[in-house]
């Protein structure tokens, strides 16, 4: 099956052996975009979170073939013009430990802040609770999302 995907602003033609191939493996193994990770492969841990038309989605649960015409953004394309506020905040708050889950965390946070630019702590905790960080960076993630909201305002 041949299809055209729009990823990080560029068009890519891919040929799938299996029409049900999930987006995550197309990104990682066909387009070489390994920033999005995989872990649970059932849409529950958030490591594979990307944006589809600006909204957070689990790339392990979405078939690539359903996404023609959708603007797909991965961590590699998040800061197309310099670092995105969430990326800046993550560095400032020194969030990452191993970093494996963080691309998904950042994509989740960026999509959340687009919808809720001035969130309170409870909304942040709710929005981020579906993304697991096993290193235990949760407290810093919460701080960084709040900080990213401030940075976005400063940058605007």
């Amino acid at each position: 099956m041949r299809l055209t995907l729009q990823v990080n602003g560029a068009k890519h033609e891919v040929v799938l052996d299996d029409p049900d191939t999930p987006l995550i493996f197309v990104l990682r193994e066909m387009l070489g975009l390994t920033g999005a990770k995989f872990a649970c492969l059932e849409g529950a841990c958030g490591a594979c979170t990307v944006h589809l038309d600006g909204a957070a989605a689990r790339a392990c649960m979405r078939r690539a073939r359903d996404l023609e015409g959708v603007a797909i953004t991965t961590i590699e394309g998040l800061g197309a013009s310099g670092l995105h506020p969430v990326q800046k905040a993550w560095i400032e708050e020194r969030v990452a430990q191993c970093g494996y889950c963080q691309a998904g965390q950042l994509m989740q946070a960026a999509a959340f802040l687009r919808r809720s630019p001035t969130p309170d702590a409870e909304a942040i905790a709710r929005a981020m609770s579906g993304n697991l960080c096993r290193c235990g960076t949760g407290p810093r993630i919460a701080k960084a999302v709040a900080r990213a909201a401030e940075i976005a305002k400063e940058d605007a």
């Binding site: 975009l33 920033g35 841990c45 590699e76 191993c98 970093g99 697991l132 235990g136």
Partner: protein, 709 residues
Amino acid sequence: MSGATKRSRLSRRAFLASAGVLTVGAALGGGYAALSGAPNPLSGRVVNAFVAIWADGTVQCVCPAQDLGQGAPMAMTMILAEEIGADLARTEIIAAPRDASTYGNPDFAGRMVTADSKTTRGYYPVLRLAGAEARMALIATACRQREWAAADCRTEQHAVLHPPSGERMSFAEIAALEELTLPGGATERDLKRSDMFTLVGSSPADPRHLDIVTGRKKFGVDQRPQGGLIAILARSPHLGGAPVAVNDRAAKAIAGVEAVVKLDDAVAVVARNTWSALRGREALVIEWTPPSDFSDKHERKMLEEALDKKGAGWVDCRKSGEPPIEADLVAEFYAPCLTHLIMEPLNATAQGRSWGLGVEIRSATQSLDLDMRYGAKTWKTAPFMVETTATPTGGAYGRRVLNDAVAEAAEIAKQVGKPVQVIRPMRDELQRGQVRPAAAQRIAAALSKEGALVGWRHDIASDGTLATHLPSSLKGPDKSEDNTATDGVRHPYRVPSERLRWRRVRSAPTPGFLRGVSAGYTVWAIEATVERLARKAGRDPKEWRQAHLQDERVIEVMNKAAEMAGWGAAGRVFGLGVMQFRGSSVATVAEVAGAKLAGLWIAADVGRVVHRDKVLAQIEGGAVWGVSMALRERLSYADGRAEIDSFVHYPTARLADLPPIRIELAAPKAEDPPFGVGEIGIPTTVAAIANGFEAAMGRTFSELPLAVS
């Protein structure tokens, strides 16, 4: 690893044996063919096994530890840079090759294992000497050139300074000279005084953060071998299950599937990409050996019955004051099996080398040494024929020490004759992976009329990870104590009569090392008992502890955490946990408000702090684990299998479950070395939370996770 490199170093043993006049030994001449990764390794000036100076003045630092996200490479480099007087921004980190005689951790019996909160702690004295030796070489070379006296010179900001003349010579200028003068081995007398430290104890920015937030950091699963295949194993969800009959017709018909390989206890689908391998595995029709009737209820009964056993089989950990005690309080505690839940799937790549005689292993690992053992054993070759490389790991927490994916990769690569990367899907690891074994404990304690502790008996029954996999690493005079099953049992309280002991009970799930190991429950049992005793004696739990503690550091962190939390404030309910573990002294206070965990305050004396922020991050991460172990985690079994078909069946603490966490570090005492930090956030946090809920709910808890809702 070239012979020249080997020759150029003193062996670790020689180094450690000469206590008092420690020396790293100068490497005269030789380059680092295997270490440099540069086109011409000899363009650098090699000082010793850990330091080389390059022509542009860049200081290369060899890091003997793996990058697990804990920050060890940064901490190692900071220690070297501090002694050298190097600017951290002009250092470069080079991963050490597998060469335990040079790069083994002295605190790990000389092995290259990154685990057990021992990395910074173990390598600190080695790296200081190596750095001091490099500093002395730079000063001696500058003195030769400028005719200064070494005694007048010091190093600072990547230069040798000569205060009498006000002149300086940069490391780059020195490196440009024909050769370095190597004045010989540094000794303890040559080390910088720790009150002169400017880098160690600070929190420099970590350039890895930029790679992580931009998705550039490459983990094991992000690095496929050229022309390599992906293998996914099908294993029985039942413990010990093995394939009896396999129908692989449908699997082989899937596009991208190249081979189906039958192993002793699994069937591997080998494919050109991960998705084909996953689909192939789903398409296999396998008849497995019948399941056992193992269940966690049965296991628990077995463990609890073991506590009643008399006579042989008990391993004493500490014993004093023989007579039996008349207990005022007897309490039992049960901790379930836990799984690591690593995010990056276990993975390892193997490919044949030297016409199939040798094998190259690349893996997200905690130990090149142990990867080599798996590789050599499976490939049936000699250790020196096994090349090992580590990639960064997406979470480790002890799981990647016994990195069994290496054996699978080697087995399959050998059979298919091509490079193969094994990826173990999370569900398979949750069902059949290593576990922190379940444990039953009983503590019996006796009080005097005045409420002082006069007798203490602590019995533990569990399986043992070392006993199962690495029996030669058992501890104690008769090599029978498995510290992964007894860690934390040596409480800090004064008591005239005590007996602490462990009994091994073999169980069905494969035991593994998990962050905190047994301290994740022994400290809970001790501290819960202590608070119950204090209440029984009608005393404040903190005051009661203070009366029984001997170690000033433990008392100090306890009082500090209590002060931070507002211990004793009217109308608030607190629980406390204290311990000494991995050399560090730690106290956690937990507040419970309205049947909810409302706050955590942690004070820790970790000795010398190398990278301050990373120490705080490790403790905070540990505290999150503590919350998760206290309130959420449990791997249960029934009908011979883990009751887990999905990631969501293993609840962990999520962001919404976490209370505010405040952490303070005690100022290091003069010349303190670093103590362990990787695991210390866990045990007292579990204990403090349990005690907080006991105080708030007016009941006791005898098992984890606490049934509070």
